[in-house]
Amino acid sequence: MSDYLFIVNVGDNIVSSVHISKFVPNRRAKSSEYINFKVGVYTQTKNNVNWAKIDEVGFDGDNNIQLKSSDYNLEIGQLAVVIPCEIGFELKESLRILPKPLSRKVDFSPVSERATISFERGKAVSSYQGDFPYQMSKVKGTFLAFDALAFNSHKGINNKLILINIFSQELTEKKQFSLHMINSITKENIKKQAYIHNSAAIMNFDCNKDLSYIFYSKDTLGIPIFISYHEDFDSNLSVEHAHPPAEYFFGESKFIGQQELKTNWLSKLT
């Protein structure tokens, strides 16, 4: 298993950043403490199926690398994929397929090779330890998430769902996809948001506290990040990714459970 990272322009003066260190995130005490690597930063513009390199960054004697969306000229909804790779790996200027990211595991310790994914608005910062697994970037998939993180539904609170979609394999064209928000009881459509491969779908939404919602796409998989903040004053920013449906189940039942759960929902949604 290895993982991509990402930065994204989500608009509304929110800056996203990635922070990664050369220290191995989780390891046995006797295993190597750190590994040396560099990161390549690639993006795809709206109508292009080629990945363009926009940066290549090493540690240069430091222990940490931080990349910010505001340092690159990204349009709203545009992603930049951050790829950890070996120091000697040649990062070409243009690619059709993204290289497999370097694994930062040194033994059998669990926990993915994450980085800090942060979002900053004014003085408020909120972050989580996140990634985009390489295995996920190779399949088309579907997406389903619940509204548990839309709890901040008071007056004046802005809620955003950011759906991060990375497809590392070759594309021949950029298709238009749809992200839906539905009432989870009536299964009625509330809102729809268009997006394309290798971008972030950004859906601003309001919640009625008495109703519950789900978000889905039958077109691609993705990682959903929920952002909430109060518009009028220096408020805390809440940023968290919703856990995937497999996490509702324990142990070896995870993937059977996820498959059945998705079928139960997606078969009822048009």
Binding site: F23, K123, A124, S126, F151, S184, N236, G251, E260
Partner: protein, 278 residues
Amino acid sequence: MIDKIKSWVPHSFKKIVSYSYPFNRSNQYTYFQPNFDQLNVSDFFLFRCDNFDTVFIAENNLAIFTSDPVECKHVFYFFSISGSNCGRFEVNSDSFHYQLKIDSEMTGGETIGGFIHQTAYPNEFLEKMPVFDSKQLIFQHRGYTGFRRKESSSSCFSFLHGNFGGMYIRKGKLHSMSRQRSEHCYTPQIIIKNDKFYELFFLNPTSKMLIISIFLIDKFNKTRTIGNSKISPFGSYKFELNTLSESEIENISWKTNLPIGRAIVFENNGVLFDVFHS
């Protein structure tokens, strides 16, 4: 060639080997899984009733699984810093999610500690579903905990999802599938900044005393120990780090016998805060 040989080995045999010494040094759970009706396991969550408000978004897994509302009994068990049972709260709801506002009455007056979430459904409902009748599926409660400063003018909670636990109640007693193994070092991908105040919360989801050592690593890779502690079974520990007098940006790491030794980190700048799983 090795992969080919591996593919011939039955899955059940591979599983037994991976849970046997010395291959089990990073397995976070026990091999043996209890086999009783309505087994559901929970992560170990943090509550704060000190200068923070805590809310918990509990999931009705069966309703979420079937895509329709199902009556669910949610039960929350609270544990003090020393790991002793300090409170219990029960509620029925058929919604996909239930929002629990945690107060000190529920926690027996404890201001900081851990809690777990358990669910129960009518047996006649589960019997109709072959996957549950055959115990093929075990629900896991990962939930979302939200925190907000008590005196805050902001109505916004900051959320984080559950992380690790494998805990459950049977016949009124707390059990855990989490295990301590060989020593592991966890190094979150964060930098300790020189103008922030940090609160790190470590929860012990195992039935054994957990020993923890915390280190700072400077830019020359010099490591210095800044904390040592013992955390009681099912207890929790708060470590405070005030970096106002420090001039350097550093990395932080800790050593425990937990294969997944993540902490919950509050990064405070005096007015606002960020909370995340390390």
